[in-house]
Amino acid sequence: MSDWSKVTRPIPVPNQWTQPFWDAARRSVLELQRCQSCGHFQHPPYATCVQCVSTDLKFEPVGGKGTIYAYTIMYHTGDKRFAPAVPYASIIVELDDAPGALLAGNLLGSPYTDAKVGRRVEVIFEKLNDDITLPQFRLAR
């Protein structure tokens, strides 16, 4: 299993459009941008609804269960900060409640060989510092 304890991750810098996502994550809640006109959830945040072009968008909680849409196993150690975790699974997750919205994460708590397209996962939260908590994923229990 990948040893993440020695990895120093780049810290996300929220901007005015993404701040609510990170505020919610700090409370261990997953919130995505939702169109108030058609109900569509989307990620990453965007200026308009990608379905109906409405500009009436708010962040709302979504369920943390989903499936692995795609993944890669990283072996390259070009960035030395991630070298202690190699090989590790970087995954893309499609949430049950937000089809089409793709969230990146790592597969935590399992060997990287458990990453497979279509496998069920659930969100967990990894605190980086007092301001930033990172949504992450593990196999669904």
């Binding site: 780049p10 901007n15 890669t72 960035d79 970087s90 397209v117 279509g118």
Partner: protein
Amino acid sequence: MWENRCKVAVSGVGYSKVTRSAEIPLAAHALTAVKEAVADSGLRLEDIDGLATYPELPATGHAEIDGISVVSVNCMMAMLKLPNLTWHIQVGTTNIGGAVQQAVNALLAGVCKYAVVWRAMHNPRGTYQNLPGAHATGAAQFTAPYGFGGPGQGMAVAYTRWLERHGQNREKMATLAVTQRKHTQHNPQAYFYGVPLTREDYLNSRWVAYPFCLFDCDIPVQGAVAMVLTTADRARDLKPRPAYLAGYGQRLHFEVAGRIGSLSDYMLGGSSSAKLTWERSGFSPKDVDVAQIYDGFSASVIYGLESYGFCKEGEALDFIQDGRIELGGELPLNTFGGSLGTGRIHGLWHIIEGALQASGRAGSRQVEDVNVAFVGASAPIVTGTTFIFVREPY
């Protein structure tokens, strides 16, 4: 069909030396390639009145220094001091294929007569793709904290989706790597000229980002290539036989920045560009005699073959088997070795090879009886463009 088909042609082509690292400034590479292309046409630099390029440095986390890590139009203007220059451009929404298309448009509009397009690529010291430093801003705030860095990983995630949805086996990709390396042995300009590759080499090579092993990735190099474009009637008076442009297209699909891993983004990008090219030229995939499809990462060829319509989705790794993409096969592919053979110079070399095959100038790698040469000049996602060159105007 496009009323302007076969009204513009590729004439001369040129290359700099391709080296692994930067031994001389990139501007010197670009200058060599441009001068060689102009000389290949039988023209003088004073004849050149149009300049176009796409100067982006794809390596992340490195400084863009004009003349050193990129070669802009301004840099070329300062070097050449062209006395008869009338037009120039740099493009942004497409890769180098867009610069070629803009040069075509300028020639059709009559605002220049002989345009040169070049692509110069730098290999910076240290790691090619760097994650951000201590902080991740913009779209990277949702990807970099998880170790997602350059485009290779973005393409790798889409590739696992493709493989597992279609029940495919990545070992079949060895055929592409080995065949293209065979073709490379007919291209003395290529980085891997004189360096063979076996199926065992491919299957035993180290992982970079699964499903990509070392030989799925083009090697970063320092080098430049260039071509001269002119109107068809002028091209007929020049030294080389012209390759006539029958049609072109550009990707019309875009998704929100920062969304990675979506296979459909590749497919919709490629199909939208190819549809324009097929409609404008009047040809279809079955008419194509030889194809160059961008292969910076091997999976790009899969997305290209499928989204352009050469085979159905999920079938590309079977399509390339059994000699089909060899020089004597049904669809000779990346006959100059592709980026996997030449090194990372982006899609202008694919466009050059399409033109050389159409004009019968490809030397020992020339495919017999070529009339229709297809080019997919960059990854279908984000920056994709497509072209068809023909030997006989129609």
